[in-house]
């Protein structure tokens, strides 16, 4: 059993290292080989994890990182389904990408990053201790930010990849803080709040979700696996996984449910006015992840898990299909025998005009979050830092002159 679990976590990582080393050394590999390695590693990982279902929950101590930090892998009702689905999606998307990225100059880079992403996810999912989880968490964050910036010749992808990366880093403060507090036996409420903070970036929760629609800059398959499915699901997964750590704080479920609820309402409102298919799907993902958080807050853990997994499958299928929208729309019209009527006409009948206009603009402008979070909060912080820097400079100068 030990070997199986370790292999499930290690195989994707090994393939990442192998491909990374091959790229580093400039070993020529055909598209077929690169793709086969990535697909096989993810497929093997999924299959190995699936076999652990029969043996029931297990915990494997692999060794000790350093004193007080054991390396533990854990397979149970939560990690096995998520791990199997993540690896399976990794394999499917890998197979899909072989055709999709065929002849693209970044073919190998994409597959290396995909392998890294799957490896990171498996580490997050199977980690039995918070510290090991942090390692996987960082790897997935790095891989997804690099996938967003895949087309690095253009400004947009790089800026948006950077935005995701910064959001992740800001939230990592929460996650790492939680780990520190756990090690020092801090109060569960503090641990819980820090964990929630840590999960909010990746799960694209209010008010930190602005990076998610911007993440649709990469090739369609990476959008499907990261932002339709797995990457955003890791946020709720973190809360489910660490349930024992914050179970002692009765206030925390309320906070989680409020964050999830606000996100769900905000994202569904905003999503209603978006006019490009990938942004629409991004906000739809955000909405559902918010709902999952509400379910976690209500204590419906198994239901939350089912919702999370179902959503991941449905949404990534939708993202993969999104370039066929025109084709599908045409055929839907033909099959319906009438124009596809615009949905959501009801709201215009029940709301007075000023409210309608205000709400529409609010939604079109994405709830003004970018302005509030980026321009005001971050901008103010940046100005403060700059002021300190200037003061520091002045002080040093004066000191120099005085000497």
């Amino acid at each position: 059993m030990n070997g199986i679990l370790v292999a499930a976590a290690a195989v994707p990582f090994g393939v990442f290292l192998l491909l990374g080393a091959a790229s580093w050394l400039g070993v020529p590999l055909t598209e077929r080989v690169v793709s086969a390695l990535v697909v096989a590693s993810a497929g093997v990982s999924a299959a190995l994890l699936a076999t652990t279902v029969r043996s029931g929950p297990v915990e494997v101590v692999v060794g000790t990182w350093f004193h007080g930090f054991p390396l533990v892998l854990r397979a149970d009702w939560l990690s096995v389904p998520v791990g199997v689905l993540a690896a399976l999606l990794g394999a499917l998307i890998g197979a899909f990408s072989r055709r999709y990225l065929h002849r693209d100059p970044g073919f190998r880079r994409f597959h290396v990053l995909l392998a890294l992403f799957v490896a990171g996810v498996q580490l997050v999912v199977l980690a039995g201790t918070p510290d090991l989880l942090v390692v996987g968490w960082e790897l997935t964050g790095l891989a997804s930010a690099l996938l967003i910036a895949f087309f690095h010749q253009r400004r947009g992808p790089v800026a948006h990849g950077l935005r995701a990366f910064i959001t992740y880093r800001v939230c990592d403060v929460g996650l790492v803080g939680a780990v520190v507090v756990v090690h020092h036996g801090g109060p569960p409420l503090a641990v819980g709040l820090l964990l929630l903070w840590g999960s909010m970036g990746k799960a694209a929760q209010f008010p930190l979700g602005g990076w998610l629609p911007r993440a649709m800059e990469g090739p369609t398959p990476s959008s499907a696996i990261c932002y339709g499915a797995i990457s955003v699901s890791l946020g709720p997964y973190l809360l489910l996984r660490t349930h024992d750590l914050w179970a002692g704080a009765p206030a925390l479920p309320v906070v989680i449910a409020v964050v999830g609820g606000v996100t769900a309402v905000h994202a569904t409102l905003v999503g209603r006015t978006q006019t490009d298919i990938k942004t629409t799907l991004a906000y739809a993902s955000s909405t559902q992840i918010g709902l999952v958080l509400v379910e976690i807050g209500l204590g419906w853990e198994v239901f939350a898990l089912v919702h999370l997994l179902g959503h991941a499958a449905v949404r990534s299928a939708q993202v993969l299909r999104s370039p066929s929208l025109l084709h599908d729309h045409h055929h839907l019209e033909q099959a319906l025998g009438e124009p596809v009527t615009r949905s959501g006409g009801g709201w215009s009948r029940v709301t007075p005009r000023p409210v309608r206009l205000w709400l529409y603009r609010f939604a079109l402008e994405r709830g003004y979050l970018d302005a509030v979070v980026v321009d005001h909060a971050v901008g103010r912080f940046a100005r403060l830092v700059r002021r300190f820097a200037a003061a520091d400079e002045r002080w040093v100068r004066r000191w120099e002159v005085a000497r």
Binding site: L92, A95, S97, R99, Y100, L101, H102, R103, F151, G156, H160, R214, A215, M216, E217, G218, T220, T268, G271, R272, T273, Q274, T275, D276, I277, K278, T279, T280, A284, T287, V306, H307, G310, H311, A313, V314, R315, A317, L320, R321, S322, P323, S324, L326, L332, L336, G337, E338, V340, R342, S343, P354, R356, L357, Y360, R361, E365, V372, H376, G379
Partner: protein
């Protein structure tokens, strides 16, 4: 409208001419990307457009030199082009140096890479690239150009960017994109924009003029400003904004143009909605470009103000002397061993080197690249005349679209069935109609875009009251919209997770099987009929034009197939760009069907007989549809075929089915996904997989191979392997006594084929500037177009995956007619003349056995370079194992032992 308003309207109209002319993607019509520059000669147009749009005029020099190394361009081509293009009086540029011609010949053979700016300064300072003791370096440096101050454009955004390093467009564009997309949206968003019926500017004022708006710092004061402008016309707002931006009156035109071009995809789409509301895929919007410009300039005012107020100015960088031309002249002097003894000689040498600048070299290399292709094709055509044989009395005839993709199908059909005769005509077969199929929700024009159809044709079920597939469709719609909402989305996620996973497994691993499973319930379509509004005389006109132009009227077989074409594929927003250009980006099946119905109509036949064109009793026309993406055939109205024709029709259909397999096999060689030894039996399956795979960005290569158009009798090209690269329009000079048929044919074929060819040219030479870049991050917006990822300009042109195998040569139009006849037609039709004299197409007159190439206002005889081409028995022998473009070859089915000629 005041005088000032009118002047603004003029400015907008002038700028609008430069915007992309691509409409919503549902009906993609190929056109010359540089239509606004068509009044100029090709060489001037591409250079001027490159300056306006910041794009590439030709392939890069490095690319051309790769072709030189591979032999695609030969040294002989270079010398021929230089002899043609470079004026030479025999004198040396400098004493002891080459003559201008010799200079160009040498210059074009060498690719001198000159590092730019700081890289060059580094090279000079840190390496021994320049020999310090070589006196030529100092002489050339002494006469080098003085540093020129960078020209700053008049657009305020450019000035702010230069002064602060912060781009105000990064503030204004996202909002403008979001707003315009929402205004034009055809049904992606769940909520429609509430106040858009009054136009774009009114909607902007209604939405953003309310208090409590977006707290973005740069928008501070916008609501008040918009409220103050209530009731202003767009023109007045533009006026106000230009003044507010501090633009001098004489710069207005330049600023308006630069502003609109900064998001030219969206601006162009607004213009398309303004001019062609009928082309809106779902519903038209009251869009006006002036409204859009007013919104953009208003945002520019606020963005520029904000950046000026907040950003710190960047330090000025002192200009450094321009050393690139000096360095290049020095390297060339060394390379050609030119002595330079004084500054006069150095200046002359430098001037000669600068005259042959990069654009000029690329122009010449391009001409050489085109020349090699032209010579190959013309020699092949000429050589084939000795070998082509008359097929005798045809068993059946088939009329296809002149599309170059049908070239291989026709060739294979003739190979499988030597007793067939094939023809090419524009794929709408003269039937210009507003067509509504039995499943269609609205009618759409099926004819060239320049024609406005006057007649409606409706397909009606023979037995009314059949059930639709609507129950399943309703469910599909419920899931696709519901899954994006809050509550329904939750229910669907939980309930349909397993189905989603199953669909993923199928679509990712077994695309073809998954597609068939999803469409398993599509039963055979019930019989229908076309209801046509045409009068008998009009139908007789249509039928007689096609029969006489193609030469079909000289002898009709018992069965005549009329085959339209189209293409159906998944994962392809540009699906309709693969459809038939002659039907305006639609599918030509209904046109073929309508034509067949007309030609079978006894009343039409009687009318034609009166005019002297007799369609024999024993001839029956059958309409068909060729899907070029999966190479399947559909036939129409087979239940109407008289009993006596059933067997000949069945044989014809079998032959065509076999030809489809062979054509698919030939086409698959271009896909790297197909093994080089793909079995014939797997060809159709491979093609079908490409068409139905969600992960396949190359459903077919479309027109990517287009390069040639031959207008003439098929007899002269029959059996010549043209590699799917030639549009083939049938034209029988013997039926055309007064050139009327040829004139109307050329007026249609010339611009349409040139449009396709030039769109591919430009999307290939600059995939990001003229094309829409790689397909991989494309994101469909508003059901009208694609963006790159999250919020970019609307991308127009063709995606790289569609054009990647293209050879960017201008269309080689070979017409079976005497030079004098063509010259007379050109003289009488300025629009055609503009294309030919301007060099947008290469025209060749093919008179009996002589060929005359049009250049600089005159036809000049073509001198063959090669007379022997490979002779094979089957096309497969020519293309087997190769993925590249192939030259001509003679496919002579009656030759038993192939005679390979290298």
């Amino acid at each position: 409208m005041t005088v000032a308003d009118r002047s603004v309207t003029d400015l907008v109209d002038r700028a609008a001419a430069l915007l992309p002319e691509q409409g919503p993607l549902q009906a993609f019509v190929h056109h010359n990307t540089l239509h606004a520059f068509e009044h100029l000669p090709f060489g001037d147009a591409v250079t001027e457009a490159a300056a306006v749009f910041g794009t590439e005029p030709y392939l890069s020099e490095a690319e051309f030199h790769r072709h030189l190394r591979s032999g695609r361009i030969t040294p002989g081509d270079l010398d021929a082009v230089v002899a043609d293009e470079v004026v030479d009086d025999g004198g040396q540029i400098v004493p002891g140096g080459p003559t201008p011609r010799r200079f160009h010949e040498l210059r074009l053979r060498h690719h001198v890479e000159v590092p730019r700016g700081p890289a060059l300064h580094w090279l000079l300072a840190e390496t021994d690239a320049v020999d310090a003791v070589d006196p030529r370096w100092d002489l050339l440096r002494a006469v080098g150009p003085a540093p020129e101050p960078q020209a700053v454009s008049a657009r305020p955004r450019d000035r702010v960017l230069a002064a602060t390093g912060v781009d105000p467009d990064h503030l204004a564009h996202p909002l403008l994109i979001r707003f315009t997309a929402a205004f034009l949206d055809q049904g992606v968003a769940y909520w429609a924009m509430p106040v858009r019926e009054d136009g774009l500017l009114a909607a902007f004022r209604a939405l953003y003029g309310r208090a409590g708006g977006p707290p973005d710092p740069f928008l501070r004061g916008l609501p008040g400003c918009l409220r103050g402008q209530d009731g202003w016309t767009a023109e007045r707002t533009i006026h106000w904004a230009l003044r507010e931006l501090g633009v001098a009156r004489e710069d207005w035109s330049e600023v308006v143009t630069a502003t609109l071009l900064s998001l030219r995809g969206w601006a162009g789409m607004v213009r398309q909605f303004e001019h062609r509301p009928d082309r809106a895929p779902v519903e038209a919007r009251p869009a006006r470009l002036a409204d859009y410009l007013a919104v953009q300039l208003t945002l520019d005012v606020f963005a520029a103000r904000h950046v000026r107020a907040t950003a710190e100015p960047v330090a000025d960088v002192p200009a450094r002397p321009e050393l690139e031309p000096v360095y290049e002249a020095f390297v060339l002097a060394r390379l050609m061993d030119v002595p330079l003894t004084d500054t006069g000689q150095a200046a002359a040498w430098l001037a000669a080197c600068t005259r042959c600048d990069e654009v000029e070299r690329r122009r010449l290399l391009h001409l050489a690249y085109e020349r090699r292709h032209r010579v190959g094709v013309l020699d092949g055509l000429a050589a084939h005349q000795a070998l082509s044989a008359d097929p005798g009395v045809p068993r059946f005839q088939a009329v296809f679209c002149l599309d170059e993709r049908e070239e291989s199908l026709r060739r294979h059909l003739e190979e499988c069935c030597p007793s067939v005769e094939t023809f090419g005509f524009a794929g709408f077969f003269g039937v210009a109609m507003n067509y509504r199929g039995v499943d269609d929700v609205r009618s759409r024009p099926l004819c060239p875009v320049v024609v406005t159809p006057r007649h409606a044709v409706v397909e009606q079920p023979l037995h009314p009251g059949r059930t639709r597939r609507s129950a399943r469709a309703r469910w599909t719609r419920a899931v696709s919209t519901g899954s994006r909402t809050l509550a329904r989305g939750g229910v669907f996620s939980v309930a349909l997770g397993a189905a989603g996973l199953a669909s993923l497994v199928g679509r990712c691993l077994f695309p073809r099987a998954a597609h068939r499973w999803e469409h398993r319930s599509h039963a055979e379509a019930p019989p229908t009929r076309l209801v046509m509004e045409f009068s008998v005389a009009e139908m007789a006109d249509i039928v007689s034009t096609v029969l006489r132009t193609t030469g079909l009227s000289r002898g009709l077989a018992p069965v005549v197939l009329i085959v339209g074409h189209g293409s159906s594929s998944l994962n392809n927003p540009h699906e309709s760009a693969h459809d038939c250009g002659a039907t305006g980006g639609g599918r030509g099946g209904p046109n073929a069907r309508a034509f067949a119905a007309m030609a079978n109509d006894p009343a039409v036949r009687a009318e034609l007989a009166e005019r002297g064109l007799v369609i024999p009793e024993g001839t029956w026309f059958v309409g068909g549809y060729h899907n070029t993406c999966d190479d399947t055939m559909t036939y129409y109205d087979e239940d109407l075929v008289p009993a006596g024709h059933a067997e000949p029709l069945r044989r014809a259909e079998n032959a065509l089915a076999q030809a489809c397999v062979l054509a698919a096999h030939e086409r698959c060689r271009r896909f790297e996904s197909a093994p080089p030894d793909l079995a014939l039996a797997d060809a159709l399956a491979h093609a079908e997989t490409h068409a139905v795979d969600l992960g396949q960005p190359r459903p077919e290569y479309g027109h990517a191979t287009n390069a040639v158009c031959v207008v003439g009798r098929r007899r002269r090209t029959r059996g010549l392997f043209l590699d799917r690269r030639a549009f083939l329009a049938s034209y029988d000079p013997d039926c055309d006594t007064d050139d009327a048929l040829l004139t109307s044919l050329l007026l249609a074929v010339g611009p349409v084929c040139a449009g396709i060819n030039l769109e591919y040219y430009f999307s290939f030479v600059d995939p990001a500037g003229y094309g829409c870049g790689t397909k991989l991050p494309h994101n469909i917006t508003g059901l009208i177009g694609v963006m790159d990822g999250h919020a970019s300009d609307l991308r127009t042109g063709l995606p790289w995956q569609m054009v990647e195998i293209h050879e960017p040569v201008r269309l080689l139009l070979v017409v079976e007619a005497a030079p004098e006849r063509l010259a007379a037609i050109l003289a009488a039709h300025p629009n055609l003349d503009r294309l030919v004299s301007g060099g947008w197409i290469q025209l060749v007159a093919w008179d009996r056995d002589a060929m005359h190439v049009y250049a600089r206002g005159a036809f000049r005889p073509h001198v063959p370079e090669r007379t022997a081409f490979p002779v094979v028995a089957r096309s497969a022998e020519v293309y087997a194992g190769s993925r590249d473009h192939l030259g001509c070859a003679h496919v002579l089915t009656r030759v038993d032992v192939p005679v390979p000629v290298s």
